[in-house]
């Protein structure tokens, strides 16, 4: 593209005298100044309030894995979703564990194995349960969960709002229209693999 000399520019070739007149400020030389000062105070105020509000609602905890097209069921229960390593996700079409595709929903519905388990999911869950157990035994857990794990060892059930020990704990994130047969199979598989505590992720009304 050829280079042309610069054309007319605002305040240079085109003076905008009417705007300058309205601005009301004069330069040191007595002529009308061309600077229009914007009042930024309301803008800064608004920004400060917005930042303060967003900082208040900001959660630094690990966000739940988001899967495209996954719509969680709606319920009134208020317990805040606890974070744990084992997350099983069931979308409208597939089952994934830790981001790895395990099986399609259709294949699970077609499978009529007598054990009523999803074998590939069972293998992954069993390995994950073993690893979590080792981590708990070695004390690689947050301090606030130590008491919960001690209670679990003593067969003491935690209260309704108390945190749960990660040993044997998994999150199930399933789409609200998922067939219950798939949920049943996943729950049976999780139980067989050593996950005796399941957290069903729900959306509050």
């Amino acid at each position: 593209m050829p280079v042309h000399p610069a054309g007319p520019r605002l305040f240079s070739s085109i003076k905008f005298k009417h705007l300058v007149r309205r601005s009301g400020s004069t330069s040191a030389a007595g002529t009308r100044a061309s600077n229009i000062s914007l009042n930024l105070t309301p803008f800064v105020d608004m920004m400060t309030i917005l930042v303060a509000f967003l900082l208040m609602v900001f959660s630094s905890s690990k966000l739940l894995q988001v899967q495209a097209g996954l719509e969680l069921p709606i319920a009134m229960a208020k317990g805040k979703l606890q974070d744990t390593e084992a997350v099983i996700i069931i979308t409208k079409s597939e089952i994934t564990f830790k981001g790895e595709m395990i099986a399609t929903v259709d294949s699970v519905l077609r499978d009529e194995s007598p054990t009523y388990r999803i074998e590939r999911l069972f293998e992954r869950l069993e390995a994950a349960a073993r690893q979590i157990k080792i981590d708990v035994e070695m004390g690689k857990i947050p301090k606030e969960l130590v008491t919960a794990c001690d209670d679990l060892k003593n067969n003491k059930r935690p209260g309704p709002d108390q945190p749960l020990c990660p040993d044997g704990l998994a999150i199930l994130q399933a789409d609200l229209v998922t067939d219950v047969r798939v949920i049943n199979k996943v729950v049976v598989t999780a139980k067989a693999a050593g996950f005796d505590n399941l957290l069903f992720a729900i959306k509050n009304k």
Binding site: V51, G79, K80, V180, I183, N184, K191, I202
Partner: protein, 176 residues
């Protein structure tokens, strides 16, 4: 924006213009970042324990001598049953085609206030077939109601121990 830092009487004004451009830049970046990372959907949890007998024959279970309160959600009705005494209550769908969750709540309240005053356990199962599928939302709704039911006068006020069972392994299963 300016700041008067002590003008001398009769002397030159010592107003200092504070450059707020970096401040606005920082605020804009922070606002954009917080807006993107904000979690607008409130995600909660329902804690359940897998219960009941499994279909796996290697997993032998000992029969419980206590009466167990069982809820079976089907596509067209809900059954509330008591094991051992084999008493069942059928909750049919409402005329508009939706499950009668209010009736389920009142039924569970009744059981809580009578037989389950000092108990906190309950079993829920969903029976889905190819012809009459039951959705996950229905099971969650049933669990939500079970967790909500409260008996203020009872020694144990709520059903804290809600378990999900396989429909075939439910302690009280209506024979259809």
């Amino acid at each position: 924006m300016g700041a008067a830092v002590g003008a001398e009487p009769g002397g030159k004004s010592v107003n200092v213009e504070v450059n707020i451009v970096p401040f606005i830049d920082l605020m804009s970046c922070l606002t954009a970042f917080l807006l993107i990372t904000a979690a607008w959907v409130n995600i909660a949890q329902i804690n359940i324990q897998p219960k009941g007998k499994t279909r796996d024959t290697s997993d032998v279970q000992i029969d419980d001598e206590r009466i167990v309160l069982s809820v079976l959600v089907q596509a067209d009705r809900i059954w509330v049953g008591l094991s051992r005494v084999n008493e069942f209550q059928e909750i049919a769908k409402k005329p508009d085609g939706t499950q009668d969750w209010d009736k389920l709540e009142s039924t569970l309240k009744e059981h809580k206030a009578n037989l389950f005053k000092d108990r906190n356990d309950l079993e829920i199962a969903g029976e889905s077939t190819l012809q009459q599928p039951v959705k996950y939302q229905d099971i969650i709704q049933a669990m939500d109601i079970a967790l909500k039911v409260e008996c203020p006068a009872c020694p144990v006020r709520k059903f804290y121990d809600v378990g999900l069972s396989d429909p075939m392994g439910l302690s009280a299963r209506p024979s259809l």
